[in-house]
Amino acid sequence: MANIKLSAEKLDELKAICKSFKNDKGELINVLHKAQGLFGYLPAEVQEVIAKELSVSVAHVYGVVSFYSFFTMLPKGEYPVSICLGTACYVRGAEKVIDEFKRILNINVGETSPDGKFSLACLRCVGACGLAPVVLVGEKVYGRVAPDGVKDIVAEYTK
C-alpha cells in the first residue's frame, strides 16, 4: 500500500486549491488543472490527496487524468521540446526531425529524460507553416529545422 509523501507547504497549497472549489467533486477537472499548474504534473500523491479532499475514489481521479492528454503524470523536462506535426511540417520532413531528437535525447515521444532536462512531445499545427518544419523548445520557436540541425539545438541547452 502506498505511503504518500508530499512537502507540507505544497500539501497545504493543494488543499487550498480544493477548498477554493468548495471541495465539490463536480469541479474535479478544474482542480486538476490548477494542481498541474502548481506541481507541473500530477503525480500519484497529488491525485490521492485530491481524491480524499473531493470525496471521490482515486481510481476515478486517475480515470479523468488518463483521459485528457493535457493532464500528465510525468514531469515535463526543464526544456520541453515540441515538434509540430501539422500538414506543412509533416510533408517537409517533421518525422525525420522527431527521429533525430529521439536518437540524440534517447527518449521516446511523451517521455522525459532521466536527468529531467528534456521531454519530447508532438503538436498539432502551430500556424507557422512558412517556417516548416517547426520545433518549439519551451516558448522559443525554431524554424526550418533539419535533422542535422537538431544536435545544435540540443547543444544550446546542454552547455
Binding site: 500500500m1 504518500i4 509523501k5 508530499l6 481510481a59 476515478h60
Partner: protein, 590 residues
Amino acid sequence: METVKITIDNKVIEVAKGTTILKAAKEAGIHIPTLCYLHLRDLNIENKPAGCRICVVEVEGRRNLAPACVTECLDGMVINTHNIRVLNSRKTVLELILSDHPTDCLICAKNGDCELQTMAQEFGVRKIHYEGEQSTYREDTSPAIIRDVDKCIMCRRCEMMCNEVQTVGVLSAVNRGFMSVVAPAFEMNLDHSECTYCGQCVAVCPTGALTEVDHTNQVIRALADPTKTVVVQTAPAVRAALGEEFGMEPGTLVTGKLAAALRRLGFNYVFDTDFAADLTIMEEGTELLDRLTRHLNGDKDVPLPILTSCCPGWVNFFEHQFPDMRDIPSTARSPQQMFGAIAKTYFAEKIGVKRDDMVVVSIMPCLAKKYECQREEFATDGNPDVDFSISTRELAHLIKQSNINFNDLEDEDFDNPLGESTGAAVIFGTTGGVIEAAVRTAYEVHTGKKLEKVDFEELRGMDFIREATIDFNGLPIRIGIAHGLGNARKLLQDIKDGKSSFHAIEIMACPGGCIGGGGQPLHHGDSSILKARQKAIYREDAGKTIRKSHENPYIIQLYEEFLGKPMSEKSHHLLHTHYFDKSKEIKVVE
C-alpha cells in the same frame, strides 16, 4: 400517476410517465436483448450506461435507433423492436464487439456461462465481417480474482458495483477510445489496491474478463496424494445454490446430495462449516454478552456496538477504510477459519494424523475466502489452517469433471464430530442470519430463560439496512443489520460520528449476504434467484430439530474435551484474531 400511451410492435399500451422503452416492452411481454444493462430488481441495483447499443429499437420519427434501456416513453411514440433494420443493426453491433474479443471460448472459464457467447448464439453470428487491431492488456492475478481485460466489453457493471454499491472505489474506466480499459488507479494490480475481494464484480461480469482464481487443480492434487488426509467443509450458502449448476430450480436445497458428491470425490472426511458456525456463535455470543454486561455495569470504555467479523470482504473493508475502528468488531474468527484451526488440532489429534499431513479444503460461496485462508495470522509454522478455498462454481465443475451424476445421488449425511450443526448455523448464509443465530443463544444465556419462539422475523428481509429491538427479558437490545459494503459504510460512519445507538450490528459485504456471494452460480441479473436462495436457507433452519447453537451436542463435546469454555485461553489462541491497519497514509516530508 401520470401515464403515456405508446404503440410497441403494433400493441397499444399505457405506461407510467418516465418508463423506459425497455421496461415498457417487458410489461407488454416483449423481450428486447440487452448486454451492458443490469437490473437487480429486488436489490434496487441498476446499471444503464447505454454503452453496448444492443438494445436499440426503431422509434418512428427519430432518425437514429434509440437505446431502449434509457429512452423514456413519450405519449404517442410508435416503436418497433424487431424489424429488419433493428435486427440487422443489433447483429452489426454484436459483430463489432466480437471483432475485438479473443476467440478462446473453448478454454475460457466462462465457456457455457457467458452472456456474450449466448448472445452470439442467439443472434446466429456465423461470420465476423469486421477485422482490425486487437486490444491487449496484461492479465492481473490476485489472491482471489483474475482480471483479463482483453475480454472486457466496457459494460461498466463492475465499476458500478464497486463504486456505487460497495463504495470501495477500486475500479474506473481509464484512458480513452480503443485504449480504454476498466482498471484500478494508476493501473496497478488488484492486490496492491484497496480491493476487498468481495467478488461482486465477478458476480456481474457478463464475459470472462473478471473470474475467480481457480484452485480446483490444487484440490485434485491433494485428493490424489495418498499421504494426505483431505478434509472438506462446506458453507451454508452453498447447499442453497449448488443445484442451480445442475439444472435445478433456484431455491432447491441439495444438502444431502452435496455430502454424497463430496464423498464420491474422495474427501476422507466430509464435514460442515455450519458446525464451526455454531462454534462462532458460542465465542461471539459470549463476547457480546461480556461487552454488554460491562457496559451495563457502567464501564464507559467498552467498545459498543459489537460488529460481526465472519466476512473477510468486510474485514478487508474496515482494515482499509476505517482502521482506527478496528477494536470494535468481534475478535472471533470466521467459521471457515475456526473450522481449520479445530480440524488441524482437535480432530488431527483424535485420528492420529500430523498437522502437515492434513489438508483442509473449504467450499464457499465467496471469493474473499481464498484470500482469507492465505492470511499469515491463520497459519502455524507456515502451515495454514485452511489450505484451499474453492467456490460453489468450482465445485460444480469438479463434480462434472469427475463423472458424478449429481442429480441422481442419494442423500447422505455429513461425518462427525465436525459435521453436526443447528438451524442457527445454516442461517449464517443470508443477511440477518448471523445476528439471529447470536440472539438465539445470547438471549437464553443472558436471561436464563428458554426462548418460546426461535424465529426472529424482525431480523429477516432484503432491505439493505434494517434495525430491530429485541427484548431480552426487560432489557431492550438494539440490533442493526447491513448488507452491501456501501450500507456497511453508512453504519460505520454513524458509529464514527457518535450517532449509533446499536448494541450489535451484523455486516455482510455481499448484497443478500453469502447467498449472493462472488463464488455462487451466476444470477445474470435475476435477483429473484437470491430471494429463492434466502427462502431455502430459512426452510432448512425450520426443518432442523436443534435450532440453537449452544444445544449442538458436538459443540458441547468439543468444549468439554478440548476448549474448556468460550473465550478460554485455548479458545482465544485458536478461535480469535486481531486486525491490521491497511490504510494509506499521507506522510508529510520536509
